[in-house]
């Protein structure tokens, strides 16, 4: 198993190389470049920018230098816009009190994933065991709503509800430290100057207040999908002959469902965990843009708009890596839960 995992990891190297070529070509072949907007100000500034960023070099040379930097020094290039290394800009800019993009991406993605699964799996079981009842229909309806609402719309509608209907801005309190008055806000992760304040319970609670809309927006579609998948898996297992046999032997319904059916229905779900991982990272992109979450996705999106070439390439490589790792994790989990599958 370990050998298999190592082999799979080695296979990712040529895969990432191919991806890096595609990523490079995508960004290099776009019309205009990072320096182009300067042409509306001053041609000399533009020429200087082109020279200093090296985007006038031949494409193979640019690609070669970039790849050489990654292989030899783990240097993914630098941000033209912010004049700092790509790794700092994408992942580590910030400090302990305010968090870094990578930290927030992991917190939000994994937090949402855990919450989604904790809610979706029991509801899926509930819907399956109450199949055809009005409760099943309600859960199903929720599923369809979650699947069909675009997340950008859900995000902005949620903020509008909080501000205009619930008027959360009227809820104010005085901070224990510093005595500053703070009111409940929307978007971002903290209110007032809590962003750079040292960690405290107040700051943590304020973070939770800002996290739930984010998790709801990111989790909605995935929640619906997982819930419906769980329901159908359980229904399939419940129709198996061995379940009939258990029931015929007089085993209690609760025992049949939780001891025999659920265990088998959950197996394929666990292997899917890996596939959901990249989905969570992707889902964060839209929410991060509208809810102003300081995540890797938002840095990436900003770079995309500004044509900040190396940050875009670094971001795309990061998301590709997450996708590859997610798939690997899926395969390994599949073998772990299903004794019939063994990798050589």
């Amino acid at each position: 198993m370990l050998g298999y995992a190592l082999r799979r990891l080695l296979y990712t190297i040529p895969l990432l190389l191919v991806i890096s070529v595609i990523v490079f070509l995508i960004t290099a072949l776009e019309p205009g470049n990072f320096c182009t907007p300067l042409r509306l100000q001053d041609e000399a500034l533009y020429q200087q920018c082109v020279k200093s960023t090296g985007i006038d070099q031949p494409l193979p040379l640019q690609y070669g230098l970039w790849l050489w930097g990654i292989v030899t020094r783990l240097d993914f290039g630098y941000s033209f816009q912010n004049q700092q290394p790509v790794l700092v800009q994408l992942f580590t800019a910030g400090d302990w009190n305010s968090g870094t993009p990578l930290f927030w991406t992991l917190v939000i993605s994994f937090g949402t994933m855990i919450l989604t699964w904790l809610l979706a799996v029991p509801l899926g079981i509930y819907a399956a065991t109450h199949r055809g009842s009005w409760r099943d229909y309600i859960v199903n309806f929720m599923g369809f709503v979650g699947l069909s609402i675009p997340s950008f719309f859900l995000a902005i509608a949620l903020l509008w509800l909080l501000v205009v209907v619930f008027q959360v801005g009227q809820q104010c309190w005085q901070l224990a430290q510093g005595g500053e008055t703070i009111c409940l806000g929307v978007s971002g992760l903290f209110d007032g100057n809590l962003v750079s304040a040292p960690w405290s319970w107040e700051k943590f609670l304020n973070l939770l207040w800002h996290l739930w809309p984010a998790m709801l927006v990111i989790g909605a579609a995935n929640f619906a999908a997982i819930m419906r998948y769980m329901r159908s898996e359980l229904l399939t297992v419940l129709s198996e002959p061995y379940i009939q046999t258990a029931r015929a032997k007089g085993v209690s319904e609760r025992w049949v469902i939780y001891r025999h059916a659920l265990k088998n229905a959950l197996n394929p779900m666990i292997s899917m965990l890996g596939y959901w991982l990249p989905l969570m990272f992707e889902g964060t992109l839209v929410a991060a843009m509208i809810l102003q979450l300081p995540t890797v996705e938002r840095v990436y999106w900003t770079a995309l708009r500004q044509g900040d070439q190396y940050v875009i390439m670094g971001g795309l490589l990061f998301f590709s890596t997450v996708l590859i790792l997610g798939n690997l994790l899926s395969d390994l989990l599949l073998a772990w839960v299903n004794p019939k599958i063994r990798y050589q």
Partner: protein
């Protein structure tokens, strides 16, 4: 089990490594230190009178600042911050700021400035003439520099000479009389030599004061100094304890202790946050006005500023286009005048700007030099009949299919580029194309990504585009900055680059070149006004670009909480940050 614990520890250590970046901070000792002769801000300049000190002001900014370097910054999200951290020797009306006084020599080539005695940078270091010499000689005039200011300082291809006459006195001498000298001084912030000399010496000034710089390494002469920057979240500024302005009571300015600038990229979210009371100031879009007026009972006030003249909203035709029929047509002044008549400016203003704009028929410069509203200035009010008559005169006959034709029977048709993602620009272009269709001209509107549009405008010579609806920003302050657009050799003379070769240059363009050159060398304001009036009239008559309108400035703020709010600069930063106070 043991292995699992180790793994967990390793992950935790990685987290800490990722989160624990370096974070500098400034000592918080807020001792007051004024110069011996501070600048006294008159109460007349304060609409709500003198305020009290203290409190925090919050205003969303639209993006992360890209740098804290006031010289290399070239976009709004950086200038929103750097403009609050820095100040200049004088302002563009000739009022001394960091300088206590200045004198222009009799031959009008040199300016001698005396700094305020005892004035300090925001880190407490005294300001001397050396800092001024350093800012100009080592930074602005440095060939390795990367600044739009560099051009503003050049006259006859040379930079002025800068000498420190005494510790607080500096003389700037231009090679010939130069009208732009005072405005160049007024637009150049003074930098601290002690913090930047090393970077200049090492040839890395352009990357100095990047966003990763510790706040203790950044200092300026503005009302605020940097307290912290959290990427993607917010910028926090604190009062500059060494600021050199006081009110009439002798209270040191600025009034507010702190400005928080959260970074919010989405327009709708900024509006919701303002409605929610999270921010005190919000420069709204025209479509937000009805919503905001409904909130007046909750303390929201809306200010509509007169339309500025800084941005030129234009439709330009490429007079060097490859197609010979279109090239001849675009070079015909009657065609351009017909296009000026066919532009329904009022329609664009009411449909796209919520009626908050003023039509324009010529180039705007700065308020001082704007003469376009005077009697006798050429106007082209919306009139399709007149436009049609001019097209008839050119000989563009109406075909059986309802489209006009060239003499050779080809249909008159061109592509009108505009910027994708800008609703106003695209809607203007569509409205214009619809009106053109009524007089038999086929314009195909094609929105492209901004970079692609710029590439088509200035990416090659001759440029590839046929027509474009675009906004030319800038030109704020001194008319010299507009020379790159209107002079035939200008780098942004994108409607007819071939003028630069000196061949086939129309007479009016030669006159424009001459007028712009003459005004640049005149220090007499009334003479410059006359020269610029003639320049603007000639341009308006010939419509090298079809001028459309200027949008009115819109501001919204919470008048129950904020006093002395006088507006923003280009919707990005406060106009008079030092006098705004918390009620």
């Amino acid at each position: 089990m043991k292995r699992k614990v180790y793994t967990l520890l390793l992950i935790t250590a990685m987290f800490l490594g990722l989160i624990g970046g370096a974070h500098g901070s400034i000592a918080t000792g807020q001792q007051t230190s004024l110069p011996n002769t501070p600048f006294v801000m008159s109460a007349v300049q304060m609409p709500d009178g003198m305020g009290q000190r203290g409190g925090t002001l919050t205003m969303d900014i639209i993006d992360n600042p890209k740098t804290f370097n006031p010289i290399t910054q070239n976009e709004a999200s950086s200038s929103a911050v750097t403009s609050l951290l820095n100040s200049t020797l004088i302002d563009n009306t000739g009022t001394p700021l960091v300088a206590e006084s200045f004198e222009v020599s009799a031959d009008q080539t040199s300016v001698t400035l005396t700094l305020r005695s005892g004035i300090r940078f925001s880190d407490g270091t005294p300001v001397t003439a050396d800092d001024v010499v350093f800012t100009l000689e080592d930074v602005i005039f440095n060939p390795q520099g990367n600044s739009t200011l560099t051009d503003a300082w050049q006259v006859a291809g040379q930079f002025p000479k800068v000498e420190a006459l005494a510790s607080q006195t500096v003389r700037i001498t231009a090679p010939i009389p130069f009208s732009g000298l005072l405005s160049a001084i007024a637009s150049t912030p003074i930098l601290p030599k002690h913090l930047l000399a090393d970077a200049v010496q090492a040839g890395r000034f352009n990357s100095a004061w990047g966003v990763g710089t510790s706040p203790s390494q950044i200092a300026g002469l503005g009302p605020f100094r940097l307290q912290s920057f959290t990427p993607g979240q917010q910028v926090v500024l604190e009062r500059n304890p060494y600021y050199w302005k006081v009110d009439e009571n002798g209270t040191q300015l600025p009034y507010v202790d702190r400005i928080i600038l959260p970074i919010v990229t989405d327009d709708n979210v900024r509006l919701l946050r303002f409605s929610n009371g999270q921010t005190d100031i919000y420069p709204p879009r025209p479509e937000d006005i009805p919503v905001l007026r409904q909130q007046s009972s909750q303390g929201v006030s809306v200010i509509v500023q007169p339309a500025g003249t800084v941005d030129s909203n234009v439709v330009a035709f490429n007079q060097d286009v490859q197609d010979p029929d279109l090239r001849a047509l675009f070079r015909d002044v009657r065609f351009r005048q017909a296009m000026a008549y066919a532009a329904n400016r009022q329609g664009m203003i009411s449909a796209n700007l919520n009626s908050l704009g003023e039509p324009r028929y010529g180039p705007g410069i700065s308020v001082t030099f704007w003469i376009g509203d005077q009697a006798g200035f050429p106007t082209f009010e919306f009139n399709l009949t007149k436009a049609g008559q001019l097209l008839d005169q050119i000989g563009l006959t109406m075909g059986a299919d309802g489209w006009r034709q060239f003499a050779n029977g080809r249909r008159v048709e061109f592509t009108l580029l505009t910027v994708q993602g800008s609703t106003v620009l695209v809607n203007d272009a569509v409205l214009f194309a619809n009106d053109l269709a009524k007089i038999g001209i086929k314009a195909n509107v094609r929105p492209l990504d901004l970079n692609a549009v710029i590439d088509q405008l200035v990416g090659s010579q001759p440029p590839q585009y046929e027509a474009v609806r675009i906004t030319i920003t800038g030109g704020d302050g001194d008319p010299n900055l507009l020379r790159s657009v209107y002079q035939s050799t200008g780098a942004l003379h994108f409607w007819k680059y071939s003028d630069g070769s000196g061949q086939d240059v129309p007479d009016w363009q030669l006159q424009v070149d001459q007028l712009l050159e003459q005004q640049a060398q005149s220090l007499d304001l009334s003479e410059r006004f006359d020269l610029l009036s003639r320049f603007q009239t000639i341009v308006a008559q010939n419509q090298p670009m079809i001028f459309l309108y200027n949008a009115q400035g819109l501001e919204a703020y919470r008048s129950d909480r904020v006093g002395n709010f006088t507006g923003t600069v280009q919707n990005t930063t406060l106009l008079n940050p030092e006098i705004v106070f918390r009620k």
